[in-house]
């Protein structure tokens, strides 16, 4: 009774060309305290290319969100995972980035990144998102994209967790059931995995991943992680995107 998880990031070919590092950051984990129900958390952040320390911002965002979950683990299990919880989590992320930028004598904008988060128990699912990238989830009625990826008028514009109005643009979705399948990805994967004109999940993209996860054993998770990283760097993917790319997936195992 847990989720089988796998997550990886890979540097985009445009970053390889200019010798810049991967500015995506991600973390997927399941808390398995035997005394409590399992808690799934997935966080993905994509550092803005225009920000001097976007990659660092993304790492800080993941750290801050993970710390927040650690502190509010019991609360997450005992109380509803709701909008209020999401706002507090994003505020914790912002506080960490603002503190770090102030300490470095830089502007928070220099650490701009997107933020996508999933927190789930066997009885509830919370999705939160600022910026582009996407969260595709099946809470019992098929693969859906509950939150539309955020974009401005132009293809190279989106919202960041460091923006003044981040809390206003924060999108939250809650469900009173667990995610049977869930995938979180950065914008480098977006155009491969979503039908952009309808803002729906392109199910055939996800099917093979979920099929493997459904039957994988805990012992295979490391191997799967290496396989996912290999896939993200494969020529078939690089022909379609030159951006950094992150994909994190989880499948419920009875």
């Amino acid at each position: 009774m847990t989720w089988r998880i796998v997550a990886a990031s890979a540097v985009g070919t445009s970053h390889t060309a200019t010798d810049t590092r991967c500015e995506d950051s991600c973390l997927a984990q399941v808390e398995t305290d035997p005394a409590k129900p399992p808690l799934l958390t997935i966080f993905v952040a994509d550092g803005a290319g225009s920000a001097a320390h976007g990659g660092t911002g993304a790492e800080l965002a993941i750290e801050a969100a993970t710390e927040f979950v650690g502190k509010h683990y019991v609360q997450a299990l005992e109380f509803a995972l709701n909008d209020h919880w999401a706002v507090e989590c994003v505020q914790a992320v912002r506080a960490k980035i603002y503190a770090e930028s102030a300490q470095q004598g830089a502007k928070a904008r220099d650490y701009a990144c997107t933020f996508l988060g999933v927190v789930a128990t066997p009885f509830a699912t919370l999705l939160m998102q600022i910026g582009d990238g996407g969260i595709v989830v099946d809470v019992g009625n098929g693969l859906k994209l509950p939150i539309t990826p955020m974009a401005g008028e132009y293809a190279n514009m989106t919202n960041f967790v460091t923006d003044e109005n981040a809390i206003d643009v924060l999108a939250v979705a809650t469900f009173s059931s667990r995610p049977e399948k869930i995938a979180v990805f950065s914008d480098g994967i977006q155009r491969l995995a979503l039908n952009m004109s309808t803002n729906t999940a392109h199910a055939p993209f996800f099917a093979p991943f979920f099929a493997v996860l459904a039957t994988a054993t805990a012992a295979q998770e490391d191997y799967l992680q290496a396989e996912l990283a290999r896939f993200l760097q494969s020529p078939t993917v690089n022909e379609r995107t030159d951006d950094d790319k992150t994909l994190a997936l989880a499948h419920w195992i009875d």
């Binding site: 994509d46 225009s50 582009d132 132009y154 190279n156 952009m196 993209f205």
Partner: protein
């Protein structure tokens, strides 16, 4: 350990590439006759060749050309792959104001087409190249350029070839107009294609840092 698991997919969503429109407003008035028009044509060929060397740019960059005078849509917007540089000939006066208005209309129409078809796009670039000064009413066009820059509807660049009225260009273009060194159109278009390549592969940002125009321009 089962090394046989095949992980990953070849089933990708079929989404159109985001487009990066670039409109060229080219002065083909009588004063461009001779070497200038020859070099401009050679520059357009360089432009095509350098875009063609980049797979993503070929899929994303769109080129449109309006010449003046008289004002003529030589090339409506089309993908770089289908862009075959025309051979321009010099003739007529310099109706720059009307050409700018025509060009901005084309940009607006193209954006509408993108939106109607669910295609995402980058901020359009409008590139004005002239060796003279407007022979028509240009103040309305200048106001439209200013308004478009403020609302970030497009980015407008002006390049003056020798003989250009730089003072008027300054009143039209919000960005500082650049003066082309000699007839270095090829270097100019080489810079333009490399800049468009950066834009067409920019990740979510607000601004794309452009390389300074080197070897072909001065302010």
């Amino acid at each position: 350990m089962t090394d046989q698991i095949s992980f990953g997919t070849t089933e990708f969503a079929d989404n159109p590439e985001p487009r990066c429109p670039c409109l060229l407003l080219l002065d083909v008035s009588g004063s461009m006759q001779g070497q200038p028009i020859t070099e401009l044509n050679a520059g357009l060929t360089t432009f095509k060749d350098e875009l063609a060397a980049d797979v993503l740019a070929m899929q994303r960059v769109e080129v449109g050309i309006v010449t003046f005078g008289p004002v003529q849509i030589v090339l409506p917007f089309q993908g770089a792959a289908a862009f075959y540089p025309p051979t321009l000939t010099a003739q007529g006066d310099t109706p720059m104001g009307a050409a700018i208005k025509q060009g901005l209309d084309l940009v607006r129409q193209r954006k509408d087409e993108y939106r109607a078809n669910g295609i995402s796009y980058y901020r359009p670039w409008v590139f004005l190249i002239t060796d003279g000064g407007p022979t028509d009413e240009w103040q309305t066009a200048a106001a439209a350029v200013r308004e478009g820059e403020v609302s970030k509807s497009f980015a407008f660049f002006a390049i003056g070839v020798q003989g250009a009225n730089m003072d008027t260009l300054k009143q039209i273009s919000v960005r500082e107009p650049l003066r082309l060194d000699g007839l270095r159109f090829r270097d100019l278009f080489s810079w333009l294609s490399s800049s468009l390549r950066s834009v067409s592969r920019s990740t979510p940002d607000t601004d794309v840092p452009l390389q300074p125009p080197q070897g072909w321009a001065s302010v």
